[in-house]
């Protein structure tokens, strides 16, 4: 299971790295090459975002990647096929990230079945709180997939416990208010928040939103288990091309 894999890796590494890419951006071939560079550079797990036309939790960088991917006729089916190819080629866990409508329209049962067949380990669905996700949780359970839930700085302690009771694998802790890809203040306040998250669950903690360089990752050592790098690699691909990804990832740890 994902949790055991992560805990094993944590015996060897102070902090793990999870990266996030938008499928089909800039193209599916590029997506494949980016993944290859990331895996070779030592990334421990990855989120593959299936693009959606209304990604309300995402900031401009990921939003544009979603829109551009869709304008190049990325479909859910193409993402599924691509996922199968990727999990066959690389030996790290992959997760899907998308908004609930993508699962809902595909059919939650059919979607989770396809995930299991493609050896995708779990999913992050940022607009699906557990209260709305009964069908999803049942279907994920049925296929042994991990639903990743999200903590935020505005989440009260008792709700953190409530969310953790549904979560598996790890908890995704959002570093701050706001959308993805904006600067985060790596401060004592963030440490206090992570300590609060730690008290609410035994699951490993991933910290995402605004992680973009080595000093951010260093800051998180001992505070979180996984640093999540999302918008920054997409920005890098936009500015310097796919070739720059490997060096960047290596520079983070």
């Amino acid at each position: 299971m994902l949790e055991a894999y992560l805990k094993n890796r944590l015996k060897e590494k102070e902090i793990l790295l999870m990266t996030h890419i938008v499928l089909g951006y800039p193209t599916f071939d590029d997506s494949f090459n980016i993944i290859e560079s990331m895996v070779n550079a030592g990334v421990d797990l990855m989120e593959l975002q299936i693009p959606f036309s209304e990604p309300i939790a995402d900031g401009p960088v990921i939003l544009h990647a979603n829109q551009k991917s869709l304008s190049r006729e990325t479909t859910v089916q193409k993402c599924m096929d691509f996922a199968q190819k990727v999990t066959g080629a690389f030996d790290i866990p992959f997760l899907f990230m998308s908004y609930y409508n993508i699962l809902f329209k595909y059919g939650v049962g059919r979607f989770t079945e396809a995930m299991a067949q493609s050896d995708i380990k779990g999913a992050i669905v940022p607009d699906l709180p557990p209260e709305e996700g009964r069908d999803y949780l049942d279907a994920m359970e049925k296929h042994n997939l991990v639903p990743i839930f999200i903590f935020s700085p505005t989440t009260p302690d008792d709700r953190m416990k409530y969310l953790a009771s549904f979560g598996k694998g790890f908890i995704y802790c959002v570093a701050r208010k706001g959308v993805t890809g904006v600067n985060t203040d790596f401060s004592n306040q963030l440490k206090k928040y992570l300590a609060r998250c730690r008290k609410a669950t035994d699951l490993p903690l991933a910290l995402g939103f605004g992680v973009k360089e080595k000093k951010d990752v260093d800051f998180l050592k001992g505070e979180a288990d996984i640093a999540v790098v999302g918008s920054q690699t997409i920005r890098l691909v936009d500015e310097e091309g796919v070739g720059a990804v490997g060096e960047f990832i290596k520079s983070l740890r």
């Binding site: 036309s53 309300i56 409508n101 709180p129 209260e131 989440t155 706001g178």
Partner: protein, 408 residues
Amino acid sequence: MKDRGYYEGFGGAYLPEILIATFDELAEIFQKAKDDPVFWQEYVDIMSTYSCRPTPITFAENLTRHFGGARIYVKREDLNHTGAHKANNVMGQGLLVKRMGKSRVIAETGAGQHGVATATMAARFGFKCTIYMGEVDVRRQRPNVFWMERLGADVITVREGTRILKDAINEAFRDWVTNMDTTHYVLGTACGPHPFPEMVSFLQSIIGKEARRQILEKENRLPARIYACVGGGSNALGIFKAFLDDPVELVGVEAGGKGLDTGKHASRLCSQDASIGVAQGYKTYFLQDNDGQMKETHSVAAGLDYVGVSPILAQFAESGRIRFQAATDREVIDALSLTIRKEGLIPALESAHAFAQAFKEAPAMSKEDIILINQSGRGDKDIFTVADAFADPKWQEFIKEKAEEYHA
């Protein structure tokens, strides 16, 4: 949040975790206000002194004679301050903002009416104000942008996605997830996550409460049919709610755009192009493709040009309690033209959809029947769009001359 705001499976609150606490607070404040008779009285007072409530109903004698069928009445929401029913929702939410102790409001706007209403409320209550508006709408509703800015609002042009109403909503949400401590999002219609559909239709229900009393006073009986245009659905729910238990046929009129078979429309409840989905925090019928990606919509009326529809209306569409129809851009322009000439009323292009459908049905109805049309807003704000639709040569000449003056 205990009540998730479901209407026979439609609605809900599909929220990112960061906003859950904000919605819990809002739902609680709203519930308290709803249960508090003092709140409603405060609301009615402000609407009768700052706006023009109760708005009258007008007997459209000339149109009635013209069609030779049902007796046509018009509920005059255009006479609200800022020119549309939007003021009802906005002033009510403004009172809630005061109760929550927040200092800034944000809103999306399509036609600009909701943006102007929100900017007006913010000026009156002393709130900071930011309005998100799609680039396409900024271009077609420039006069409203002008007024929002004069009222002290920051108008942010949204260049993402289809650059219309839904994209403005997305951007407003992105602002809100950052600034929720100080900021309330004044959603303009009965859509979005719970409690918005319930809250907005509660505040708009003042329309139907008045209209029911007024028509009974005038005619001593209920109308046979009531017509309202449907974008998000707030003016329709506002007038329909008071008649739900009456033997009155309720007709919601969607934007048929260039025709339902062209794909260029915004009809969610009476076209084959829509299906149930989850976006912008709620479950309803959306104009989307098989993958769940939202489609482009089209309407001559910016305020109806939206991919989703109130979950409460989706419920009534399924149950059959409300009948849904679509009127095309062409039919709407014709209905608008006729209404202006016959009655001296200038409905907004949005509201003219309700008139267009009523005109299709009125001639076949009995002279004893009464129909009531909700004129949700006034149309003089649409002067650029309407002038284009009429291809008015004198107007074009004026615009050219005006442009030259600026060049000089």
